[in-house]
C-alpha cells in the first residue's frame, strides 16, 4: 500500500517549474545587485566622512599636543636623561597628563570606522569580481 501511495502522490509535472527556477534566480540576482550597490554606497559615504573627520582630527590633535606642551616634555628625554631617570615617575605622570586623550579617542574611532568601511567595500568588490 505504501509504495502505491507514493506513486499516487507523485505530482504530474506541468513544466512550469524549470522556468520558475531561472525566473527566481533572476529576481535574486537583481536584488543582490541592488543591495550590493546600496551597501557599497553606504560604506563609501561612511568611509569618506570618516576620512574627512580623520584629517580634521589629526589637525586638532597636533594643535592639542602643542597646547598641552607634550612635545616640550618629550624633548626632555633627549636633553636631560639623568633628571628623567631620577624622577621617572613624576615625568611619566606629567607626560600622560599632557596627552590630549579625547582627541586621541576621536582619532582612533574615526580610523576604526575608516578601516571597517574600506574592508567592507573591498569585500563587496572582491565578491562582485569573483562572480564575473
Amino acid at each position: 500500500m505504501e509504495q502505491n501511495l507514493h506513486k499516487l502522490f507523485k505530482p504530474s509535472s506541468d513544466n512550469k517549474e524549470s522556468k520558475l527556477s531561472s525566473d527566481i534566480w533572476n529576481v535574486i540576482e537583481s536584488k543582490t545587485t541592488h543591495m550590493t550597490k546600496q551597501k557599497t554606497l553606504f560604506y563609501l559615504s561612511i568611509g569618506a566622512m570618516s576620512l574627512v573627520g580623520t584629517i580634521f582630527s589629526v589637525k586638532s590633535l597636533i594643535e592639542e599636543f602643542l597646547r598641552l606642551g607634550f612635545f616640550n616634555y618629550l624633548s626632555l628625554i633627549f636633553s636631560d636623561i639623568g633628571v628623567i631617570t631620577t624622577y621617572w615617575r613624576e615625568y611619566t605622570l606629567t607626560l600622560m597628563d599632557s596627552l590630549p586623550v579625547t582627541s586621541l579617542i576621536i582619532l582612533f574611532s574615526l580610523l576604526f570606522i575608516l578601516f571597517i568601511s574600506i574592508r567592507r567595500v573591498s569585500y563587496k568588490f572582491r565578491r562582485k569580481f569573483s562572480i564575473i
Binding site: M1, L5, K10, K16
Partner: protein
C-alpha cells in the same frame, strides 16, 4: 557525488553564489508541488518565489543543529502558505490543529486502504478532490510523507508536533480517505 544541502549552504555563506542556484534548482519543483496542493496552480508560482526570497534573506539564520535544510525550507513554505491563506481568509493549517493531538493509533496502516480503494485513487483528479476535502493538517502530513518522502520524524519537526501525533494524523487521514472512497 552530489553535494549535501548543508554543504551548499556553507559554500554560499562563504561567498560561492552558484551554490544557492543549485539549491534553488534542487527544491523549486518540491516547493512548487507542495504549494500547488494548497493554493492551486495559479498562485503556486508566487508562493515559490516568496519562499525562495525568504530563504535567500534568512539563509544566515539556518542552523543545521536545529533541522536539516529540507525541513527548514518546508517550514518556510508552510508559513508562507499559511500567511497567504490567512490573507485570502481561507482555512489555514494552524486553525485546524486544535483537535486531540495525543491520540496515537496502533492499527496497521496496511489494512486502512484496501486495493480496491487504491485503484480508485489512481485517478489523480479524484485523489486531488478527496485531498481538498480532508482537514488541511491531515492533507499536509500525507503530502509531506508520500509526495515529498519525508520521514514522520522530519514531519514532526516541521509541524512542531510529537512523532505520535504525526503518525496519528497520518492514520486518520488514510481512514478518512478510505471512508470517502467508499462513499463515492
Amino acid at each position: 557525488m552530489e553535494k549535501s544541502d548543508e554543504k551548499l549552504v556553507e559554500e554560499y555563506l562563504d561567498g560561492e553564489e552558484s551554490s544557492f542556484k543549485i539549491l534553488l534548482d534542487r527544491y523549486t519543483s518540491h516547493i512548487y508541488n507542495f504549494s500547488k496542493r494548497f493554493v492551486g496552480v495559479e498562485y503556486a508560482n508566487d508562493i515559490v518565489q516568496e519562499v525562495f526570497i525568504k530563504i535567500w534573506k534568512n539563509i544566515e539564520n539556518f542552523n543545521v543543529k536545529k533541522a536539516n535544510f529540507k525541513t527548514w525550507i518546508f517550514t518556510i513554505a508552510r508559513n508562507t502558505i499559511t500567511d497567504y491563506l490567512r490573507k485570502k481568509k481561507m482555512v489555514s493549517f494552524s486553525s485546524l490543529d486544535k483537535e486531540d493531538e495525543t491520540f496515537a493509533d496502533n492499527i496497521e496502516d496496511e489494512v486502512v486502504l484496501p486495493n480496491e480503494a487504491l485503484m480508485k485513487l489512481e485517478d489523480k483528479e479524484f485523489l486531488n478532490n478527496l485531498l481538498d476535502k480532508i482537514p488541511a493538517h491531515y492533507k499536509e502530513v500525507l503530502i509531506l510523507y508520500y509526495q515529498e518522502e519525508m520521514t514522520f520524524s522530519e514531519i514532526g519537526k516541521l509541524l512542531e508536533k510529537p512523532l505520535n501525533t504525526v503518525k496519528s494524523y497520518h492514520h486518520r487521514a488514510l481512514v478518512l480517505l478510505r471512508d470517502m472512497v467508499h462513499h463515492n
